[in-house]
């Protein structure tokens, strides 16, 4: 084996090592790493670094687009205004509720779907995979319209189909009340995004070595034991990615609320609050502050997740 094909030395501590001891090979690897990953990083920073900085900067001003000449620096007072306002806390509550309900239901449902697709008869497997991709591919706005029209007091069929359920009748106005509005919003979100989770989980399931499953079965492991000891540990990365992105995505819920209730009856999410401040009321300062606060909340969630799951996508080789 020539030196160029040698596997890299097992985990050295490149940071704590004096520069002179870094081999040419490690140097070349570093260079290649930055060369490959650099463009993606540069693009990401370009599309977001400026807007992020600008949003934070704008949040420190009393700044309205309708009155741009009267822009004045007000420090953190936008944040004080928001954090002492009931609107913000309602929006946080609504967003958190939608996130917890949809992600919990989606994880269970998505895993069940992935299991069925993974084990299904060879003949119907392609059909199932195609069918499950459809809700995922349908635009959120379209899905929101479909569910809204289904529950709508005029155009809907739900009221006449489910009239046998106590409390549901021809004149049930699903969008006239916070609880029922949120119920329909959650339904639409769950329908639309469960396939995302189940596809990622299916990809993870497909990578669980068949040999291990068979060995466990031969050794007399029950279904539950195989699930806990073989399947789940082997697809931790897939579960992590699916869960993390769905949670963060759910926390930004916007489209469905925009279409279905436009924030009426206390169904406003944090994103919708920010949208209403910036785009509708043109209060750039306040809107940017809401956005920055939303970002901070979301970073906290992500941080908790990554620490909680202890999965490090970067520890890529030679371990586990």
């Amino acid at each position: 084996m020539s030196t160029t094909t040698l596997p890299p030395a097992p985990k050295t501590e490149p940071v704590s090592k004096p520069k002179a001891l870094i081999s040419d090979r490690a140097k070349a690897e570093r260079k290649l790493g930055w060369l490959l990953a650099g463009p993606a990083l540069a693009v990401m920073l370009l599309v977001t670094a400026y807007p992020i900085a600008q949003a934070f900067y704008d949040s420190l001003f009393d700044y309205r687009l309708t009155d741009p000449d009267n822009r004045s620096f007000t420090g953190l007072s936008n944040y004080v205004v928001i954090l002492t306002d009931q609107l913000w806390w309602t929006a946080i509550g609504v967003t958190a509720l939608i996130t917890v309900i949809t992600v919990a239901v989606e994880l269970v449902l998505g895993f069940a779907l992935a299991m069925v697709m993974n084990k299904a008869l060879r003949a119907i497997r392609p059909f199932l995979r195609a069918v499950i991709l459809i809700p995922y591919a349908v635009i959120t706005v379209v899905s929101a319209f479909a569910w809204q029209f289904a529950f709508d007091i005029n155009t809907g069929f739900v009221n006449s189909w489910f009239a046998w359920i106590p409390g549901v009748g021809a004149d049930t106005d699903w969008f006239g009340d916070t609880g029922t509005s949120l119920f329909v919003i959650c339904l639409a979100e769950i329908w639309k995004t469960t396939p995302f989770i189940s596809l990622l989980l299916l990809a993870g399931l497909a990578q669980v070595p068949e040999v291990l499953q068979e060995a466990a079965q031969v050794d007399g492991a029950t279904w539950w034991q195989r699930m806990r000891r073989v399947t789940l540990p082997n697809m931790k990365a897939a579960i992590m990615v699916a869960l993390l992105f769905r949670t963060l995505d759910a926390f930004r819920v916007f489209d469905s609320i925009f279409v279905m209730t436009a924030g009426a009856n206390n169904t406003e999410s944090v994103s919708f609050l920010a949208y209403r401040q910036t785009i509708s009321r043109l209060e750039i300062g306040l809107g940017s502050a809401v956005s920055v606060l939303l970002f901070i909340v979301v970073v906290l969630i992500a941080f908790t997740f990554i620490k909680g799951f202890k999965v490090d996508l970067a520890q890529a080789r030679g371990d586990s």
């Binding site: 990953a37 992020i52 949003a55 459809i134 750039i284």
Partner: protein
């Protein structure tokens, strides 16, 4: 496989198909209802009519809808291609190479992925107007990369991480060149991840609503979701429900076709004996 087991799978399959297709069937049914029929309270129209479709395809709403279709396809395909190429290189480096900064890259991707779209929009709105990108294709493709790139990098890194990279060295020991080892061993192993990621990236771009409605003003670049949003808003129709339903169906048809095409590739990729023991 026993008959009982077989019928259980068929029941499960039918349940999944019902779950996935029911709302689609509903919006299709709705799109064939006449305005007088909309409030009939039943799932199916009592009288089939295609007047909603003529309204969208060559009636009053066609100049709102047709350009939007073209914009959505063009913008989303370009954004997907760019982000897939960029993230393929990045994910390979993250999964495979030892270099300081890969944590920083993943951290940046995460931060970009979770940054609320709405707060990127406002500053971009001002900048795009100043430099002339407002209401153009690049004006949407660039911010779409902020949606598609981070997820592509993370998903592909997770996939690449599961690949048994030793096989590349094994091939080289057996006399393959570096390029051959990459081409014959690594590419087939990595392809399922790349295809799955491409699909995810495309549909994320296709699904965007906030950028689409904020950074465009005419049919020159307005994508479908934003156009649909405007249907329901300041509309010249008495009741836009039928028109929205018809537009939703038309938008869903190409998506279903794409799903079928891509699905075959995923199945081929996943069953290609990729990573098994």
């Amino acid at each position: 496989m026993s008959t009982k087991e077989r019928s259980w799978w068929i029941v499960a399959g039918v349940a999944i198909a019902l779950y996935a297709l029911f709302p689609i069937a509903w919006i299709v049914s709705l799109s064939f209802k006449a305005p007088s029929d909309l409030a009939n309270g039943s799932f199916l129209p009592s009288l089939f009519t295609t007047e909603n479709y003529s309204l969208i395809l060559d009636g009053a709403a066609s100049d709102l809808f047709l350009p939007a279709l073209r914009n959505s396809f063009g913008i989303c395909l370009i954004a997907t291609f760019i982000s897939c190429v960029l993230s393929m290189f990045a994910a390979y480096a993250i999964a495979r190479l030892d270099f300081p900064g890969k944590k920083f890259i993943l951290g940046t991707a995460l931060a970009v992925a979770i940054f609320p779209v709405i707060s990127i929009v406002t500053p971009l709105f001002n900048l795009w107007r100043q430099i002339g990108l407002y209401d153009t294709w690049p004006g949407l493709i660039i911010p779409y990369l902020s949606l598609t790139l981070p997820l592509s990098i993370w998903t592909m890194s997770a996939f690449f991480r599961e690949i048994p990279w030793e096989m590349e060295q094994a091939a080289q020991v057996d006399g393959a060149t570096t390029w051959q080892a990459f081409r014959k061993v690594i590419v087939p192993l990595a392809a399922p991840g790349v295809f799955t990621t491409a699909i995810i990236a495309f549909f994320i771009a296709w699904n965007d609503f906030v950028y689409g409605i904020s950074l465009t003003s005419t049919g020159a670049s307005r994508p479908v979701p934003a156009a649909l949003g405007l249907f329901s808003g300041a509309s010249q129709f008495e009741d836009p429900t039928g028109a929205i339903a018809a537009a939703a169906v038309i938008v869903t048809i190409p998506v279903v076709v794409l799903v079928l095409v891509f699905q075959r590739r995923i199945v081929a990729g996943l069953t290609n004996g990729a990573v098994k023991g």
